[in-house]
């Protein structure tokens, strides 16, 4: 007897994240050892920008998930951002105001990362329609030394020098005057 094997044909459909023409630009940061570095002065606010773009035909609703354990970002971000079609270049700037406390040691480094996701999809299950999909970017805030303001110091030194010169000249004048009075002064001789 001949064995007959039965085959079943199935259809499989996998949905990948929706096709979109979207992405984002961001402030240029130099790289050191492969890490993006944002150098800031302690106590001074520095701005970092994210510029979402949408070259598709439908609006995109995105959200920015910030991972900032040291609370360096001072401003609150919106719950979501609506990126209209044909949003290009720097037409939609999102600002991060970054600051570290005054007195933070120079060279101290703080990581900040952000993820750009769709605000419409189910992120938990990975439905992300913003491209790059679930894109995460990390940069490091590094504290630089405060630039010393030497001008005040120069002013003080200048004033001291001028005072010294004035005192010295005054002293000379007074000394000469008293000498003159001693040697060439007129004396009344009463008889």
């Amino acid at each position: 007897m001949k064995n007959i094997k039965l085959f079943t044909i199935v259809v499989i459909t996998l949905f990948m994240a929706n096709m979109v023409y979207a992405g984002f630009a961001s402030t240029y940061l130099p790289k050191e050892d492969g890490k993006l570095i944002l150098e800031i002065e302690p106590g001074v606010v520095s701005d970092y920008f994210i510029y979402p773009q949408n070259l598709g035909e439908e609006k995109q609703l995105i959200k920015i998930v910030l991972n900032d354990p040291n609370n360096t970002v001072q401003n609150l971000l919106e719950e979501s951002y609506e990126i209209m079609p044909d949003t290009q270049s720097d037409e939609f700037p999102i600002k991060l105001e970054i600051k570290v406390p005054r007195g933070t040691l120079a060279g101290t480094s703080f990581p900040v990362s952000y993820e750009i996701l769709t605000a419409e999809g189910d992120v938990e299950k990975g439905l992300v329609s913003f491209s790059p999909i679930g894109f995460e970017k990390t940069f490091y805030i590094r504290v630089k030394e405060l630039e010393k303001n030497n001008s005040l110091l120069y002013w003080i030194i200048g004033v001291i020098i001028v005072l010294v010169i004035i005192i010295f000249i005054s002293y000379i004048i007074i000394k000469k005057k008293s000498k003159k009075e001693t040697n060439g002064g007129t004396y009344e001789i009463s008889q």
């Binding site: 499989i12 459909t13 984002f24 990975g126």
Partner: protein, 290 residues
């Protein structure tokens, strides 16, 4: 004594006459009447033009997958007057080490004063021009004597651009026979680097596909950088990011350029005894690039 005086007077008179005769002879050669004719030749040297000022350019934010027009304004000066500048030669080139130079397509003379012209030049930058704070501006113009003025002291910054697109969002197998392996999907996905960054990570997160209680595990799906594969694909793990670049045929978007793409092919090993039907993944698969 009187004789001596006469002698002196006579000799002085003779001397004056001699002088007058000489002058009259000389003037007879060059002049007629009171007007003298002559040729005076005066040659003025050309003054080389200069480019004393190039306007600053704020950080350039490129647009994903396309070009971006940059405008650079510069002043050109010429002591011989602005008309001595050859306006048609005005040009701006944007340059960076290791990058293709971007040269202006057009420069417009937007203002002319006595000795100066203000040019406004437009330059197209590409989405893949590298980010950096060391882009230079080289502004030049010639004068009518073909002397060139140049100023390349100004620099500007190009921002980072992350822009990755995929061509399709759905992968389908219109018919798969159960109990067969390495079934290639009907279509692939092409991801394109439309920005100026390089990426080291290309992760795929897959999920089980189900139909009426029947499951095709994520572990049955695999990816490869080539079509027609029957070995060495990279297999998925349910709800777990898998490094696709572990596959020798998948490099990822490790560079940026005019056409940097990665094509991903999908395969499935279909288990035996599956119900007929359309199997759909539990969650959308995720491609992560970083």
């Amino acid at each position: 004594m009187k004789k001596n005086i006469n002698k002196k007077v006579i000799s002085s008179g003779l001397f004056v006459c001699l002088l007058l005769s000489v002058f009259s002879f000389a003037s007879a050669i060059d002049c007629s009447g009171e007007e003298c004719s002559g040729t005076i030749s005066l040659t003025l040297g050309n003054s080389a033009p200069t480019v004393p000022h190039v306007g600053s350019v704020s950080e350039v934010i490129l647009t994903g997958g396309t070009t971006k027009t940059i405008y650079v304004v510069f002043n050109a000066s010429d002591s011989n007057g602005y008309l001595d500048l050859d306006h048609g030669t005005a040009s701006v080139t944007l340059f960076k080490s290791g990058e293709t130079n971007r040269t202006s397509s057009v420069c417009v003379a937007q203002e002319n004063t006595t000795k100066q012209t203000v040019f406004n030049c437009s330059i197209e930058m590409e989405f893949y021009d590298s980010a950096g704070a060391d882009w230079g501006i080289d502004a030049t113009v010639d004068d009518d004597a073909a002397e060139t003025a140049k100023n390349d002291t100004e620099v500007f910054t190009v921002a980072s651009l992350d822009f990755v697109t995929q061509d399709v969002s759905v992968i389908t197998w219109a018919s798969v026979i159960t109990g067969t392996n390495d079934n290639e999907a009907d279509n692939s996905i092409i991801i394109t680097n439309g920005g100026n960054n390089d990426y080291t990570v290309l992760n795929l997160t897959g999920y089980d596909a189900t139909y009426s209680g029947n499951v095709i595990n994520a572990e049955n799906f695999s990816v490869d950088g080539l079509t027609g594969q029957s070995a060495d694909q990279t297999y998925m793990v349910n709800d777990t990011a898998v490094d696709a670049t572990a596959n020798a045929d998948l490099v990822g978007l490790t560079t940026h350029g005019a056409a940097v793409t990665e094509e991903i092919f999908f395969y499935v090993d279909a288990p035996d005894a599956l119900l007929v039907g359309e199997y759909v993944q539990d969650s959308s698969w995720v491609i992560k690039i970083a």
